[in-house]
Chain length 733, copies 2
């Protein structure tokens, strides 16, 4: 007999299941259409595995195989090669971006010369003008340029010689103080303490006829003349550091605007180029010059170097009426520099960009500068692109891999590009990660960045295995461990030290002009004196890197992994990993220093730090409130709420940018970080203010009314901007 349905039970079951079903449907199923947002930890592991040291080595071998001076056919070849790697690597969009800019070249067949003349004008000695190939076949390339400093003035000058140590401001002041006049004379100075362009500027301002630059063996070959390339990474005697002496940034003819087709270009005479000739020589050659100087004026103890000579100041020679002749033949001309831009669009926020960049041009072979960084950049692009191709995963935000052109001449490619895209970058760029020479030694990581990224870079360093077996043996398992051990932060010894961004590489325009939080990083060596010995010489070869500095490319791998971890963190974290409270601490410490130094002087001249102090306190309160109160209650399921918070985090740095520029330096806008006005390489915090205090010295408002007025105006601007930046973190308007 067929059972009758038990309708009550059936209905009850149906209702219960309907409810359960509704609950499952509502809460049990993710609404993401295609969930490719894998956990960050898993992506980190996948990325770390994918990065290949041997790829880096291969790239470096290619990149260091030809001299690729900006604007030459080889330079385009390298930029195209990077483009092809980006395409091959699976990036979504790759652009080769040309800019026609003013570059500067030596005469290939007629090298610049420095000669020693006797009283009759007869040449006793002349520099060779070229570096001798010593080891690798590529050193013999006919494309290697003779020795030169880009943007040197043309001309032949003759005169007595004055030795000016490192050519710093204080060095020239010392010479003046003991009555040695550089006017009408030729200055010889050592590389290694400040940017070479600033040496030339001081010499030119002092009335010198020309400048000769050399690298002292004390700094660059401390183990002596025999322990040098190709046996070690030290500098041989005929090696010459090339380099630009441009004091400006970006294309000298199109300041503040991009060098596009049809752009207005300044007359060359108005560009910030030296008006006197300058030429770099080897230390073997410098020795001959220095040994010829009269013993009349001995140089101070700390001006003595490593040459086989006692250093005298000049200006007379031992032999009566001898002189030095400096002959420079340069061509300055419009040439095309190329950037290679590779884009991997973001999964959820395609209009938010994390940029990773390095330049592609080099003075000669550039095995370290820039090939070590470019290899890392290309491998990173391949890694992200490859994983996207294989798994469909792409980070939440867009990645832009940027190969810059003509960095060596003055960050030209990055400046022109950032000028062209300034508005879009200000609105959309999350951060810029710079690598230049990725590896200058195997001692420790070094990094410069803005305070809000301190924790991100430190956390990334904790994720990367230590590439140094000796360090691992000593118990320091990660890059972070060695970094902390080798270089602790003086303000907080539990953390490794992070420095401030100067202006020695392509981060300059992003950080100091646009206010995009930027990072620069590399592996450094211990006994650093300005730069690694072979810097900008012919001997930056694959051999140096692969055989002497980083066999197996494990340090390169570590840098690539570190940058990849940082890139992942910045591009994948739902909430941007910016520690804004850290910025407040930084500003407080820095204001303390400024106040302790200048408060009395300021008060005596009608200026006050009161509003600066108030603004910084407000900044601290605002960042703390944002971090402690606003962030924890963020509804992470609301994409626009998350975007709002991220925009505030990202734009905080923009808030520290003054669109009207620093006092007397309209080309710099960041009120906290700007290059020092006396050394392009280094950074002064609150450079606008500190420069004015340096200018005013101990003079009063009556003696220097204009400078004091500028101090008050700039204090006012700083206080306003810091306060407004703090306000931008408010929950509401």
């Amino acid at each position: 007999m067929a059972q009758k349905p038990n309708w009550i039970l059936i209905c009850a079951a149906a209702v219960i299941c309907l409810i359960i079903g509704i609950l499952i449907g509502r809460y049990g199923i993710s609404n993401d259409k295609e969930d490719v947002s894998l956990p960050k930890a898993k992506m980190s592991a996948t990325l770390m595995e994918e990065i290949s040291a041997s790829n880096i080595g291969e790239y470096l071998k290619y990149l260091s195989s030809i001299p690729n001076l900006a604007g030459t056919p080889q330079d385009l070849e390298v930029a195209s090669w990077v483009r092809d790697r980006f395409i091959e690597g699976g990036l979504d969009e790759v652009q080769l971006v040309p800019y026609k800019v003013l570059l500067s070249y030596p005469d290939m067949s007629n090298p610049n010369q420095v000669s020693l003349l006797d009283s009759s004008g007869k040449v006793n000695f002349t520099t060779s003008g070229r570096q001798t190939p010593l080891f690798s076949s590529e050193e013999f390339s006919p494309l290697v340029q003779p020795n030169f400093n880009a943007y040197s003035a043309n001309g032949t000058v003759e005169g007595e010689l004055v030795y000016a140590n490192y050519g710093r401001k204080q060095d020239f002041e010392y010479l003046k103080s003991i009555g040695i006049d550089i006017r009408g004379r030729i200055v010889i100075a050592r590389y290694g303490a400040i940017f070479r362009g600033n040496i030339v500027k001081s010499a030119e301002d002092g009335g010198a006829l020309g400048v000769i630059l050399f690298s002292d063996p004390k700094d660059f070959a401390p183990e002596g003349r025999k322990s040098v390339y190709p046996n070690t990474t030290r500098l041989p005697g005929m090696a010459v550091q090339s380099g630009s002496v441009l004091l400006g940034y970006g294309d000298p003819l199109t300041p503040l605007y991009p060098a596009l087709e049809g752009a207005y270009r300044l007359p060359e005479a108005e560009a910030p180029l030296p008006k006197i000739p300058v030429q770099p020589i080897g230390y073997d050659e410098a020795e001959i010059l220095l040994r010829s100087i009269s013993t009349e004026n001995p140089a101070p103890e700390d001006w003595q170097g490593g040459l086989n000579a006692t250093y005298f100041l000049g200006s007379k020679f031992i032999q009566r009426k001898w002189s030095v002749r400096l002959q420079v033949r340069m061509t300055h001309k419009l040439a095309t520099a190329y950037n290679t831009i590779g884009i991997l669009y973001g999964r959820e926020e395609p209009d938010r960009y994390v940029l990773i960049g390095n330049h592609m041009d080099s003075w000669t072979l550039g095995g370290i500068d820039p090939a070590s960084g470019t290899s890392v950049l290309v491998e990173m692009a391949r890694t992200f692109g490859n994983i996207k191709e294989k798994s469909g995963w792409r980070p939440r935000r867009t990645l832009m891999f940027c190969g810059w052109g003509a960095e060596e001449y003055g960050m030209i490619g990055s400046y022109e590009w950032a000028e062209e895209h300034a508005k879009v970058l200000i609105q959309r760029a999350v951060a810029y990660i710079n690598v230049d020479s990725a590896m200058e030694g195997n001692y420790t990581l070094k990094s410069q960045t803005v305070p809000s990224l301190y924790s991100a870079i430190r956390e990334a360093a904790k994720m990367v295995p230590n590439p140094n077996p000796a360090e691992v043996k000593a118990g320091r398992k990660t890059v972070f461990d060695t970094w902390l051990w080798a270089n602790p932060d003086l303000n907080d010894p539990t953390q490794p030290r992070v420095g401030n961004l100067g202006s020695g590489s392509d981060y300059t325009v992003f950080s100091h002009v646009l206010g995009v939080p930027s990072v620069d990083l590399y592996y450094d060596y211990q006994e650093k004196a300005g730069s690694y010995p072979l810097y900008h010489t012919l001997y930056e070869t694959y051999h140096v890197v692969a055989n002497l500095m980083d066999p197996g490319f494990q340090f390169h791998l570590a840098v690539a992994r570190l940058m990849t971890e940082l890139t992942l963190d910045l591009s994948e974290s739902m909430v941007l990993p910016f520690d804004v409270v850290s910025y407040a601490h930084f500003l407080e410490r820095d204001l303390d220093k400024i106040e302790s130094r200048y408060t009395n002087l300021a008060a005596n001249n009608g200026a006050t730090f009161e509003y600066f102090r108030k603004a910084v306190a407000h900044f601290r309160n605002s960042t703390e409130y944002f971090t402690d109160i606003i962030l924890p209650r963020l509804d992470t399921s609301n994409p626009l709420a998350v975007r709002k918070i991220n925009d505030q985090l990202m734009q905080l740095e923009r808030g520290l940018v003054d669109p009207h520029g620093l006092p007397g330096r309209p080309e710099f806008n960041h009120i906290v970080f700007a290059p020092s006005s006396v050394d392009k390489y280094s950074s002064d915090t609150f450079a606008g203010l500190v420069d004015l205090f340096k200018t005013v010295g101990n003079q009063t408002e009556v003696e220097q009314p204009n400078t004091w007025r500028q101090i008050k105006q700039h204090l006012s601007a700083i206080s306003f901007l810091i306060g407004a930046a703090a306000d931008s973190l408010r929950e509401g308007f």
Copy 2:
């Protein structure tokens, strides 16, 4: 007997219901927590109903009951009253924002005077210095200031009189051309053609000792001396138009930066204030002066006005050795101006702002300027606030209702506030809607805005019933219909004409400095001559508005409804209603004009429009591609995709802003829209370029190398910015 359960059926039912449940849960329930996004059409109807003409009338009665000159206690009273209305209206957050700025006041007990002296120095006639109360009780207030021009220099000057018509550049040039020198003389000129500050500047530049200003009855009382206030809206003979003669914008002592506590302030001598005294007088008084001028130099036909006199140019008087004496006693001092900011946070995009603003200060009673606009503003805030309180509905984006302080002195409140919040506004402001005098007549709507908002304002006008019964009778049912009939667009007669923004009100800083798309609108009268007759006089009373101009406040209601429709559109539309292609058409037409005028001149001097033309073509292609291809495929269910598109639409206008300023005018940044350099009230498109072409005249590159250089530089900047703005609309980077 108990029936056994039929498990098969039960299970089947359970499974089916589970599946149904899951489907309901997944697709049948909206994920919005609380859906308060009602259809825009419904909200429009609700808002239209809520706005009350009688409220507007009541507000206007209060606002015009006391003189509230900026920086006075009455001004604070009005700002506080607006604050209280905003709070009462239900806005989320209301701020009273003070700025200490340089304001300028006459001596209350010792009015400025213009006197006619005979050859012995005896005073024959002296102006009264005050306007006579004629009708309303509030005209008798002891708080009414004597007649003055704010920021006039102090001092007493004596000399002959020169009549300079409207004081335009061409008027002064005419005087010069016929040999009448204003040097050492006093200029008398008519109000009504250009901004009064530009009249004074030209006089000062020409060496005049002082300036006397009056309103000619031909322009301001065309029906004769009897048909005037209080019987009509025409100007009585002792009425005097007050007003500022400041040529700068914002607080004169803190250019480019906000006047915050501790801000650096310029010495007053460096502020852009006139160096000569200036005083406005009534036309009855002007008549006495003009009738005293010698008949030697008759003024041209079109310089003749409506006074009972033939106008002569001077400078001699009929009587030998007579002269005019101008005595001005002003106090310039730091005083506090207040803005009142009321915020209604957005439902989905709280960090996107639609701003609606008008100023609160007035020269005397300000029944029209600004009370007609302020009443509308306050009623709009109440309307939106009230509906939010009643229904919980709030628009998608944030509304900010802005009552500005010290607009009359030079847009000071809006400038200081926009300078203070510049960064945040650049990032977050969608649009700024300005109303000043909401109703100057009942003829037609007038509006000035940027091309991307043409269609939005026109669509809004179609939604608003015509407040003019005669027009309705004539078949023109909406505000749009009359507007189109009365003032068709010459380029497209199917659309009503929209003008360009000058700099006569608070939109200036938003549009011309920050690049926030702005709108200005009001109801105008037909036979306009510069301003409505009672403008800035004592007789801008409630009586004029309520009894003569807009009984029942129906025109005010129409303006309020129009602004509300526009506000709703901008704040509620998922995709911003910006017509970017319209901008391209505008640029093309304008470039055509410039090219047809200047191409030969430019070509003869090494300048070219080629890249400008290319950039505009690129702008057109980009806006069309964006509109036709990108917009239609937008996934509107993806909030971040919608945000991306909206950011591009919103930021396009920012792209036309040059952070480095226009040539020689760093205070203006918009390359397309800027006030004319010869009349602050009017607007030149591409003012930077047109000004340079005016300066260069027909002179060659050899004769004026610097100006030609500036032309080339600015052409380069314009071309770059238009191109980059176009690029910002790309789908990817």
